[in-house]
């Protein structure tokens, strides 16, 4: 660096969060003499409007070309100060944040002298890094106003209609031969009492009539290329015909698979032990007296949490640890349907905890006050189902009856089976969306970024992301629509420039970086006589897996370049005069 830098250093008290433990004035004094530092000051709250304005004025007046704010974690205020730098006509990537709170004052509340010393080390490293920054610009990508929605269940259909209403072109792909997913076959939905296939038919009709939606049934995604704003996707249609689509974003709404009990699990396999879906089918087909295999049904036992909230055991080596969310509500709703058919049938509900959250509590209350009996078991002593004298017998240790084992005679045992992730190996290898520990597609942040995946431009909606009731599936589909619309209606997207960069002179193409990259952001290209790696800017996350595996040090991450890191180490190792 030949030209002398003009760096402004601002140290934040954070009220007293930092200054109670770190002597911020001493830190400021200690860095005043560092080469390149023009200004070194402290602020009570650097993030406050007044402080920001003061800093902006100073940056402009002093013609500063680098900025270091030593305050809280960059997770909290990096974008705040980047924005401030921008307003001061300073390139936001020439701003460095030093974490003096989480990594210093809060961590060393019992050692004020040590904390101050550490603060000086940290700040010197930050200044050294800042001195080696250069202006960077966001990577702007133009987006195509078209969306691929994978899965035409209720979530996918609802998303498709909303996107089409926004004026975006939608390709809706369904592997089955007709749209609708599980909702088509579940019958009456609680608590609004609408029939699932009617909901599906209404949506399908709107899709048919919408000019902006193209529905492919019996079709599968076979390849995906490109990146956010500009994907190329190939579909295989019925009769092995393929179609190539060019879209700006993808919504994955592939739904769930119903849990399949193991043989013998709660009597699964015995005549009269059925899944909740089968039982609902039986109910919807019954007019008059309820019979099962020719025998009248006088007593029904429902077992909850089948395939959900499992604990590891010999028979269950890979437990589903999660709650499937819909089963308690669906089962208590089914209790109402059964009572409607025949109020004299005795109902026993063997539950662990009733999770009919929100307004669905009414379903539970109705089932209970209508006379269904609820017995609570624990995973230590799960219910057992046996055949006894030609009838089913359920043995349950009920915590509400002093943990005594009770015997219930039942004509039908209904297992409230949960949701599992779909086994979609083909699609998974194409989309490369990471999976959660439960095996569902993983979002970036469960609360704050619930429909975005780490693959930019690829969103997840509905039960593909985790068990959801229909209402929640639709809500998440509409969230994905909002994110997709926000992305595509603008026409372009700005991406972080802090990504990998290949030095074409050093690179000899060994494919190690390609192997290491989880995002498929490395591409092999020919330049003149040699083959080298190229980073696809719109795919790279700057995550850095490629850097250490390169045998020739040919890859660096902008913002974390080798020279910057070395300078930081050097600066931070410099001795500090005992404060």
């Amino acid at each position: 660096m030949t030209q002398k830098r003009r760096i402004g250093v601002y140290i934040c008290h954070c009220g007293g969060n930092i200054s109670d433990y770190v002597n911020v004035e001493k830190v400021a004094d200690a860095v005043k003499g560092v080469p390149g530092v023009e200004v070194a000051k402290t602020h009570v709250f650097a993030c406050s409007d007044a402080s920001q304005q003061e800093m902006i004025n100073e940056i402009k007046e002093q013609h500063l070309d680098g900025l270091v704010v030593a305050s809280c974690s960059p997770k909290l205020h990096m974008f705040t100060f980047r924005g401030m730098a921008k307003r001061a006509d300073l390139n936001p990537y020439q701003y460095i944040q030093v974490n003096l709170r989480e990594q210093c004052s809060w961590a060393h509340t019992s050692d004020k002298i040590g904390a101050t010393e550490k603060g000086i080390h940290l700040l010197r490293a930050g200044i050294a890094k800042c001195a080696l920054t250069h202006p960077l610009n966001a990577i702007r990508v133009e987006t195509k106003p078209r969306v691929l929605v994978i899965g035409a269940g209720v979530a996918g259909m609802r998303a498709a209609i909303m996107l089409a209403d926004m004026g975006l072109a939608v390709y809706l792909v369904e592997r089955e031969n007709q749209p609708g997913g599980w909702a088509r076959v579940t019958g009456e939905q609680g608590p609004e009492k609408q029939n699932g296939d009617q909901v599906v038919s209404a949506l399908a009709e709107r899709i048919r009539q919408h000019d902006n939606i193209m529905l492919y049934t019996g079709a599968e995604v076979v390849s995906k290329d490109g990146s956010i704003g500009d994907f190329t996707v190939a579909l295989r249609l019925k009769g092995s015909e393929t179609v190539s689509l060019n879209v700006g974003a993808i919504i994955v709404a592939t739904g769930f698979a119903p849990y399949q009990p193991r043989a013998g699990e709660y009597g699964w396999g015995l005549p009269g032990v059925v899944s909740l879906a089968d039982f609902r089918q039986l109910l919807s087909e019954t007019k008059g007296r309820l019979e099962y295999q020719g025998k009248p049904v006088r007593s029904v036992a429902f077992i909850y949490c089948v395939g959900s909230r499992q604990t590891e055991s010999e028979t269950c080596p890979e437990p589903n640890a999660y709650c499937s969310r819909y089963c308690c509500s669906a089962t208590t709703h089914t209790a109402g349907l059964l009572r409607q058919l025949d109020a004299k049938i005795h109902q026993y509900h063997l539950y662990r905890d009733v999770r009919t959250y929100g307004a669905l509590e009414k379903l539970y209350e109705k089932a209970r006050t209508d006379g269904a009996l609820f017995l609570r078991w624990t995973p230590e002593k799960p219910p057992r189902v046996e055949t006894k004298d030609g009838r089913l017998s359920v043995l349950v240790t009920d915590t509400l009856t002093g943990n005594e084992e009770l015997e219930i005679g039942a004509d039908l045992v209904v297992l409230a089976t949960g949701m599992e992730p779909r086994q979609n190996e083909g699609l998974n290898s194409i989309l490369k969306i990471p999976e959660s520990t439960d095996g569902f597609y993983k979002e970036i942040h469960i609360k704050l970024r619930p429909v975005e995946t780490v693959i930019d431009g690829v969103f997840v909606a509905g039960a593909a992301q985790g068990p959801k009731a229909l209402a929640e599936s639709v809500a998440s589909a509409l969230a994905a629509v909002a994110k997709t619309g926000g992305l595509l209606k603008k026409g372009f997207v700005d991406l972080e420039p802090l990504i990998a960069k290949v030095n074409p002179e050093k690179c000899t193409w060994c494919d190690k970086c390609l192997q290491a990259c989880p995002y498929g952001a490395i591409k092999r290209i020919h330049t003149g006589e040699k083959e080298i790696a190229l980073v696809i800017e719109s795919l790279c996350k700057g995550e850095g897996a490629c850097v250490p595996v390169c045998p020739h040090d040919a890859i660096e991450i902008e913002g974390y370049r080798d020279d910057q890191i070395m300078a930081m180490i050097d600066a931070s190792l410099k001795e500090v005069a005992t404060p």
Binding site: R368, G371, L375, T401, G402, L406, E407
Partner: protein
């Protein structure tokens, strides 16, 4: 051995006047608030659960319903308005009907029509025998009924006397069989009658003393009402009014026994003790009965808001007996003769006998079962109630 769930049993107890069991979601507030629930004798929730699921074996063996005096605190506190107090009362009716070997108790509780029919039939029979005895062929001197009732005098006195003895004997047998059943069932959880051998003589002495103290003072019923303090004045609280009825009952019993001993046994016209005692007993009891009737009409407290046909019947019987008793006193003193006085005598005598025959099987049976349950409770839990 798993306990069987039997929806029929649940249905049966519900028919005996249980609260709305479907409302109960087992929060346990009733048990927490109950001033008498303690240690192993945990109620009312546990009893409610047994009824809800129809756990017959557990229900018939549970002494808990007898440890409850129905203060109504549980029903007042129930967040679901499931009325556990009334359910405990229904449980007592169920237990009485299960202990009773004759099966009549269950019928009388379950069917008001049967209750009325049985009362009338039994009344007619008793009236008939009664008239037969007292007209003409009376062995012991002057017949109290004049000759215009002579149409009834065709059964030999000896026959009636024998039938009377047989019925009385049968009655005693039935009562003792009921008591035996109750003891057998209550001891089931502790290992049957063999469990009684585990206790020492000192234990029996202590439990007997505790029981005697309890009957004399009704301390548990007092505990029941004073936590939280009742808003009613003491003279209408159940502990006092129940006490007046019990005291009246005992006084009348002594008076009648004295009459029997002197007048019929020694043929002495000696009324100096029996008459005042009888008058006092009748008055004391009448007070309690009227307070009960008034409270049941007001329905102001949890334990009076539900009145079953069996409750009405009992109050009706006792009040009529009490009033006709006084009427007879006046008639005898004034020396009135006539059909009206004959009818009053007949009604009083017949209803008194019906009372013994019917209510010993049902409502009055608590006078045996409750002390039994308490005795076993005291045996089992030396520190009970302290």
């Amino acid at each position: 051995m798993a306990t069987k769930v039997d929806p029929q049993i649940s249905q049966r107890v519900r028919e005996l006047g249980a609260g709305d069991l479907n409302q109960c979601y087992h929060c346990g507030t009733c048990t927490a608030i109950c001033p008498l629930s303690e240690g192993d004798a945990s109620f009312p929730r546990r009893v409610l659960r047994n009824i809800q699921l129809g756990l017959g074996d557990r229900l018939v063996a549970s002494p808990e319903p007898w440890l409850c005096y129905y203060c109504g605190e549980c029903s007042d506190s129930c967040p679901q308005k499931a009325d556990p107090g009334e359910t405990m009362a229904a449980a007592r009716r169920y237990l009485i009907s299960k202990y009773d070997p004759s099966g009549l108790a269950g019928l009388m509780y379950r069917s008001p029509a049967f209750l009325v029919f049985f009362t009338l039939l039994l009344g007619a029979l008793l009236a008939f025998f009664h008239l037969s005895i007292h007209v003409g062929k009376h062995a012991a001197g002057e017949a109290p009924f004049p000759s215009h009732w002579a149409a009834f005098a065709w059964i030999p006195y000896e026959t009636i006397h024998l039938v009377g003895l047989a019925v009385g004997g049968l009655m005693i047998l039935v009562v003792f069989a009921g008591l035996f059943n109750a003891a057998r069932l209550m001891l089931k959880a502790h290992g049957g009658f063999a469990a009684l051998r585990r206790y020492k003589v000192a234990d029996y002495r202590r439990a007997t003393m505790q029981l005697a103290h309890e009957i004399a003072t009704m301390k548990r019923q007092g505990d029941c009402e004073s936590d939280p303090p009742s808003s009613e004045p003491w003279y209408v609280q159940p502990r006092f009014t129940h006490g007046t009825i019990l005291a009246g009952f005992v006084m009348l019993l002594i008076a009648t026994t004295l009459d029997f001993f002197f007048v019929f046994g020694l043929k002495m016209q000696f009324y100096a003790v029996a008459r005042p005692l009888g008058i006092a007993g009748g008055l004391v009891m009448l007070y309690g009965l009227l307070v009960y009737a008034w409270k049941r009409m007001r329905r102001a407290t949890a334990n009076t808001k539900t009145t079953t046909p069996a409750d009405i019947w009992l109050l009706f019987f006792l009040i009529v007996l009490d009033v006709t008793g006084f009427a007879l006193l006046v008639i005898t003193a004034a020396g009135w003769k006539g059909v009206a006085s004959d009818v009053i005598l007949l009604v009083h005598s017949v209803m008194a006998m019906e009372f013994v025959l019917m209510f010993t099987l049902t409502k009055i049976a608590h006078a045996l079962y409750r002390p039994l349950a308490l005795f076993l409770h005291f045996l089992n839990a030396p520190k009970a109630g302290t």
